[in-house]
Symmetry: C2
Subunit: 343 residues, 2 copies
DNA sequence: AATGCTTCCCAAAGCGCTTTGGATTTGTTT
DNA sequence: AAACAAATCCAAAGCGCTTTGGGAAGCATT
C-alpha cells in the first residue's frame, strides 16, 4: 500500500492525504479522521526512503562503533547504551543505523554517512584523548553528540558524560577515610578519555591526602575479568601490597575479587574494592545490599538522554552545544571495610 | 555532490555515469575510468535513499532486539553478534538498522519495517519455543534468518544455530565419566529455544546413564552473575548437594564459582563446572589454559555467518531455506576434575 | 553507396513521497 | 446580491537515483 493507492481508495488527492497524515492545518477535521482511519486499516506506513528523499531528512541517527583491530573488543556497555538510545528513537520516529568499523577506517565511515545523506546525525562512541573525530565532524557539518568528553579539545561540542573525575576522587577519599593508604587502580585503557579522567580523579585524591603516587599500583588495560585478575594477583604478591582497589568496571572487579580470594584473602575485610558500575542489565551489583561498593551511573539512561539531546540539537539547529554531566551515585556495599591493622 | 552535478562536471549524461559506477558493460573502459576517478576526487557517494527508491531495494538489514519488559535485559551476547554481522554488511555495502522494542510491540515493528520498505530482510534474535515470528514473517513475505531455532515450528525457515543439544549432552557425559552423579544445571530462561535444547541435551545424557532427573538440581532464569550465585548457593546447601555444574553462560558460571568458594569449596576439586562459552570479547575464558571447561562457540562468528546466509538468500531468492548448525568446541579447563569420593 | 552490427552514449520515465502555487467551494460582510 | 476572505482540496514539480528504449557514430560487409 502506498500513498497513491491509499488516496485513490479515499477519493482524495495525494496532497490531501499526505497533509492529513502529517498534521497540516489545511485539512478539515472530518477528512483527517477519515484518512487516519483508512491508513490504520490498510496498515499504511510511508516509505522512509521516499519521505527522506522528499524532505531531505534521513530520519535516522548513525552509531559508529569502533572495534579495535588489535583487541577485537566490543565494549560491553555498548548493548545497554544502544538499548537506551533506541527507546528514544522509537518514540520519535527515528531509525538507528549501526556501523561496525575497525578504527582504521573510521574517518571514511563518517564521510560516507555524510555524503550519502544516510543519517541526520551521529553519536560518537568511545572518545579518546585528543580525539580527531570532533574536528572531522565539525568540518563535515554532520550534527553529532559524544558519549563522553574529549580532553585537549577546545572546540565546543555536544556531549553527555559521567563525572568520572569526581566519582573516582570521591571513591578514593572514601578509601582513605577507611584508613587505606595503599590504594591500587585497575583502570581501562588510558587513551580512552573516561579512563584518563578517572585516573586524574584518583591521583587528585591521593595528592590531596599527601599519599605518593605509586605506578606499581596502577594499571591500564582492557576491562576484562582475566586482565583484572592478573593485575591484582601480581600486585597482591608485592612486598607491600595494596589494601584497597579501585576498578573501572564491574567485570574487572570480578577478576580482582578472584585474585583476592586466590591469595587466601577476603574481600571487604583484608582488601577493599570499589568499582564503577554501569548498571548493565546482565551484571547487576547485587540486590538491596550491593556486593561491591560502587560509583554507579546507568549507561542505559545515558543512552536514552544523549539520544534526546542529539535529536534536540538536530531539530533546533542554531542553538549552542549542549553539555550534560551526570553525577554518579555512591553506593556502599560489602566490598569495603576499614584498612587492616599492620602487625 | 550528486549525480547530476558529477555528470555535468564530466560532460556526460547521468545514465552513463550511473552505469559506469555500477559496472554495466555499455560503457567504454576509458570513460569508466574517467568517471571513477572523478567520483573519488569529489568524494561522491550515491544517496542511499534515492538508490533505494529507484531500485526498490533498501540495501539494509533490520535487527529487531527484543528487550523484555519484565527484566529490562539486553542479552549480553548481542554486542558481539552485531559486531560480527556488521563486518559482513560493511563488506557488502549493506546497512544495519536496529530496532529496540519491548516484546509487546514486536509484531508491530516487523509490519512497519515491511510496509515502509525500510529493509531487505531481518535477523530474528532470541527465538522462543513456538515463536510466532516465523509465521508472521512468512506471511509478510519479509526475508529473514533466525539466530537459533524454533522448537515446534514445522514451517521451513533459514537459520544458524549452535548444536546446543549435542554440546550439553556431551558435557554431561564428560562429567559422568569423571564420576559425577549429582550434576546441576543452571540454565537460561527455558522459554528461549536455546535453553530448552540445552536442557534436553542434559536430560538425554542423564537418562542414557540411568541417572534420575532431579528438579532440585535444575534452574532456569536470566543468565546473570547474581542469579547464578544464588541458585548454586542454595543447591550446595542441600543435604545431597551437586558435585558438578553445567552453566548456560560464562556470566552465570562466575556466579556459580563464587557460590562454591563461599561454601569453602574449591572449583575443579570439590565441585566441577562446565559452562557454555560464547567467546565474548570482554569475557575471555582465560588464555592458553582456560579457567572453565567449556562448550565453546563464538557468537561473533555466528553473526558474521548468519548475515552472509541472509544476504545470500536475499540475492538468490527462490532457493530453499538454509540451515546451518555449528558444532561446539569442547575445551577442557581447570574447573573440572574427578568427582570427590564419598566418605 | 547502401546495409547491418557493434559500441557508446543519452533523454525521459519512474520509484513514493512532500510541497508549491493555484483552483474551487463555502461562508461572511456590506 | 456582489465582493471578498477563509476553508478545502488538487495538479504538478521535484528530491537523486536507476533503467528503458532508443539514437548516433564507427566499422565491416555486400
Amino acid at each position: 500500500m502506498n500513498l497513491k493507492e491509499l488516496s485513490k481508495n479515499l477519493g482524495l488527492s495525494q496532497t490531501t492525504v499526505s497533509r492529513a497524515l502529517n498534521g497540516y492545518p489545511e485539512v478539515s477535521a472530518a477528512t483527517r479522521h477519515r484518512v487516519e482511519r483508512a491508513a490504520k486499516e490498510f496498515n499504511y506506513h510511508p516509505s522512509t526512503r521516499a519521505k527522506g528523499l522528499a524532505t531531505g531528512r534521513a530520519l535516522a541517527i548513525g552509531h559508529v562503533i569502533p572495534v579495535s583491530t588489535q583487541h577485537e573488543m566490543v565494549n560491553p556497555v555498548f548493548g545497554d547504551f544502544i538499548a537506551g538510545a533506541g527507546e528514544t528513537y522509537a518514540r520519535n520516529g527515528f531509525e538507528m543505523i549501526l556501523s561496525i568499523v575497525d578504527d582504521q577506517n573510521e574517518e571514511q565511515i563518517y564521510r560516507s554517512l555524510k555524503s550519502r545523506r544516510a543519517v541526520d546525525g551521529v553519536i560518537v562512541h568511545g572518545p579518546r584523548i585528543d580525539d580527531s573525530r570532533i574536528a572531522l565532524l565539525n568540518d563535515l557539518g554532520l550534527p553529532f553528540a559524544v558519549h563522553g568528553q574529549v580532553t585537549h579539545c577546545d572546540l565546543p561540542y555536544t556531549f553527555l558524560d559521567v563525572n568520572n573525575h569526581e566519582a573516582f576522587e570521591q571513591a578514593t577519599d572514601y578509601l582513605f577515610d577507611l584508613g587505606h593508604r595503599r590504594i591500587a587502580l585497575v583502570n581501562g585503557l588510558e587513551n580512552m578519555d573516561f579512563a584518563h579522567r578517572r585516573r586524574r580523579g584518583y591521583e587528585a585524591s591521593l595528592r590531596s591526602h599527601g599519599i605518593p603516587i605509586d605506578t606499581a599500583l596502577m594499571c591500564s588495560n582492557e576491562m576484562t575479568e582475566i586482565i583484572g585478575y592478573e593485575a591484582a594477583y601480581k600486585q597482591l604478591a608485592l612486598p607491600n601490597p595494596p589494601t584497597a582497589y579501585l576498578c573501572a568496571s564491574l567485570i574487572s572487579a570480578l577478576g580482582v575479587r578472584r585474585a583476592i580470594e586466590d591469595h587466601g584473602l577476603t574481600m571487604g575485610k583484608d582488601v577493599s574494592v570499589i568499582t564503577h558500575d554501569d548498571v548493565l542489565s546482565y551484571l547487576q551489583n547485587g540486590g538491596d545490599t550491593p556486593i561491591f561498593t560502587a560509583t554507579r551511573s546507568s549507561v542505559r539512561t545515558a543512552g536514552r538522554r544523549l539520544a534526546e539531546v542529539l535529536l534536540n540539537t538536530i531539530q533546533h539547529t542554531m542553538q549552542p552545544p549542549q553539555r550534560v554531566i551526570l553525577e554518579c551515585e555512591f553506593v556502599v556495599g560489602q566490598s569495603t571495610g576499614p584498612a587492616p591493622r599492620k602487625d
